[in-house]
């Protein structure tokens, strides 16, 4: 082991050599050759692989966005137009109270 301090900012060649010797084995070249072959045989990810990985998430997101848009922008329900439907509305929102004479006639006729 060299006399370098643990604080040194440059690599310790002797420690480096010990580390490499401790971690290397005799089959290093064979391992690398086999590794190269295996990695390249595994193939690269093409754009279809990327798309297929994202497709389920994309589909869910699109459905959620469409549902949200529909809820926000949907038109108000429209009441069917016609005399039967509009008459009570007109009565409810009549701007003036009926005159006393009209009410008196109605009561008398009812009697």
């Amino acid at each position: 082991m060299s006399e370098q301090s643990a604080f040194d900012n440059s690599p310790d060649p002797e420690l480096g050599a010990q580390l490499r010797a401790a971690l290397d084995t005799a089959d290093g070249d064979l391992f690398v050759a086999r590794l190269r072959q295996t990695v390249l045989a595994a193939g690269r990810e093409d754009s279809w692989d990327v798309l297929s990985r994202w497709a389920p998430r994309g589909l869910v997101a699109a459905i959620a966005a469409a549902a949200l848009l529909w809820m926000v922008a949907r038109p108000e329900p429209v009441a069917p137009a016609g005399p039967m439907a509009s008459a009570p509305m007109q009565m409810e929102v009549a701007p003036q109270h009926p005159e006393a004479a009209v009410l008196t006639v109605a009561i008398l006729e009812g009697r």
């Binding site: 643990a6 420690l15 010990q18 690398v32």
Partner: protein
């Protein structure tokens, strides 16, 4: 391909050139194996982690930025593969620590030849936390800068300096003790 430098190979590989990536595997395969072994020890797990990491790197090569150094990018993927495998292995093997694991250091008086010395060194290395092991291997054995190791481990540069400092001190202490006590 051997005449092309690392940046050129990485650019070609990023464009999908298999031969270029193969040349990078040849260049960094041994280094990746040492890094994985520093985390997982010598065995099939480390080799599996290197293979998984290299395949992941080849599949993700389209996301590599050719403007940045290639080897920290590659080594980060390999180190992560090894750390992940180590975590899975720990979960699998969780249980009481066997008594024999209390001291993995062989008695110095028996360590008289080169092979035993190497075993002693491995044992001393294995006593370190895994990130310290990676840091000291990358720094002293592979010649990475602190900044590159910070990129690999995704920690601040100051943390890397601390890892290297503690790992060196522990290794030197262990080996000093070994050398003093060896006959």
């Amino acid at each position: 391909m051997s005449h092309v430098d690392e940046a050129g190979l990485a650019r070609l590989a990023a464009a999908g050139d298999g031969d270029a990536f193969g040349a990078l595997v040849e260049r960094y395969g041994g280094q990746a194996r040492r890094v994985a072994r520093s985390i997982l020890g010598i065995g099939e797990d480390a080799d599996d982690a290197v293979q998984d990491g290299m395949i992941a790197a080849w599949r993700a090569i389209g996301r590599y930025d050719p403007g940045r150094p290639f080897r920290p990018w590659l080594m980060r993927i390999v180190a992560n593969a090894a750390l992940d495998l180590g975590r899975r292995r720990k979960v699998r093997q969780a249980g009481p620590i066997p008594e024999s694991a209390e001291s993995s250091f062989v008695a110095p008086d028996r360590a008289t030849d080169h092979v035993l010395f190497r075993e002693e060194f491995r044992a001393a290395l294995e006593t370190l936390p895994e990130r310290q092991r990676v840091a000291v291997v990358l720094f002293d054995a592979e010649g990475y800068s602190h900044a590159e190791i910070a990129e690999v481990l995704k920690v601040p540069e100051g943390t890397v300096r601390s890892y290297v400092f503690h790992a060196r001190r522990a290794l030197r202490r262990a080996l000093g003790a070994f050398q003093e006590e060896a006959p």
